[in-house]
Symmetry: C2
Subunit: 246 residues, 2 copies
């Protein structure tokens, strides 16, 4: 597992407002630091979910007041953004040296999803698609290396990567919602899905003939299978753009 890169090693994007507080870690005798705040925040998310993550509770976890956090993060959104980037640092980087680039990309997508799902619904904070955190940048760089190495044109590689991250995030969000409703395992989800299927089967026949007929198909497949299907559509689609081979 690669070590996370601290935010200081990469230049700050110029379109973001600069933090108003400290930029460096404070003196050693201080218990507070950006690192400590992020760790406390992640502990909270892992234990109680994203909704439980308030500035006040993070501060409480650190034995201080909410106002103290504003020395390290200009607001809650910035804290969340850095927290997500820290988690993204746990995703193993795909290798451009892999024999089968498509398999490597798919593997990497599965790994990304797994890392997100290890932290409850934290993935919900991933919104705008432009990566800026150091770990996100490093991951993007590695994935682009694979796609370009495979001969995919730059523009298609850029668009395809956007789409893949969008699909990974959207799927992980959905899975995290199901998990938060107590349907982590396939077995837990089964009674709920059976209810959904029956609901579709019993909709008025004149209005909903296709939903009636597809009631069983609508709940077929585990979350993993559906995700693999989606990623397969994307990656196989990208493969068709590869320039004429030498």
């Amino acid at each position: 597992m690669p070590a996370a890169i601290p935010f200081e090693e990469v230049p700050a994007p110029p379109w973001q407002s600069p933090r108003k507080g400290l930029r460096k870690a404070p003196a050693a005798r201080q218990p507070l630091s950006a690192e400590a705040v992020l760790s406390a925040a992640l502990r909270l998310v892992d234990r109680d979910g994203l909704d439980a993550l308030s500035m006040r509770r993070v501060a409480q976890e650190l034995g201080t007041g909410a106002a103290s956090l504003y020395a390290y993060f200009s607001n809650k959104d910035e804290l969340l953004e850095q927290l997500l980037d820290r988690v993204i640092g746990d995703i193993p980087l795909p290798s451009a040296a892999a024999a089968d680039w498509a398999a490597e990309v798919k593997r990497s997508c599965y790994a990304s999803r797994a890392v997100f799902l290890a932290h409850r619904d934290l993935v919900k904070v991933a919104r705008a698609n432009i990566p800026v955190g150091p770990n996100s940048l490093r991951y993007v760089e590695a994935l682009l290396a694979v796609l370009r190495g495979a001969g995919i044109p730059d523009r298609i590689a850029a668009w395809g990567m956007d789409q893949m991250s969008l699909v990974i995030v959207a799927d992980a969000i959905e899975a995290s919602i199901h998990a938060s409703l107590g349907r982590q395992s396939e077995a837990d989800a089964a009674p709920y899905l059976a209810q959904v299927s029956e609901y579709y089967a019993n909709l008025p026949a004149e209005q909903f003939p296709n939903l009636n007929a597809m009631a069983p198909a609508m709940i077929e497949g585990s979350g993993d299978e559906r995700f693999e299907f989606a990623i397969g559509l994307m990656v196989d689609g990208l493969a068709r753009y590869i320039k004429a081979a030498v």
Copy 2:
């Protein structure tokens, strides 16, 4: 434009908690009703965005207190869910009679995105992928008719529809975020995108050779072009699953 179906015309899904308050519209002399609450809420979202939508403000818009809304919606989430379904009622239904099913599906995806984008960031409330509102169900039914009519196997049609709605929603969310940052038009976004591209171009060369090289490609294409690319990947991918023609 099809008229929206009221929630009463479709049976309530059994896995949802029943509303605790009224089920029917109150006496005519009452200014309050579920319909009136939804209209006020939509007005608020259209004017000030989803973050401005609080129970208190909706109530204020109607000249009453927040507590009064709980007679019609058991909580804020339910209000939002019904509000989204109401907007989904504005999406024209795709036709299974269309000569080119793939073109019809793509057109329908573009139309969905356009309807979502007409209501600021309301689309953010679309989370779990299982449609339950009457208008959502009607749309799903129509889209399934097109996919099944094209000869796509049931399981693939179900998974593909899930994916398409996920891509539409995720893309619309991203576009709405950009719009809320004052980058509605391509012209408004240009200076921001130029900054992003320059940022990528100036990342340390040893660590980020691919991002350096792809700096121009990373911001190529309008939001519309990127969306059409993504939908194209999906729909063309689904086409490959069509059973052997007769």
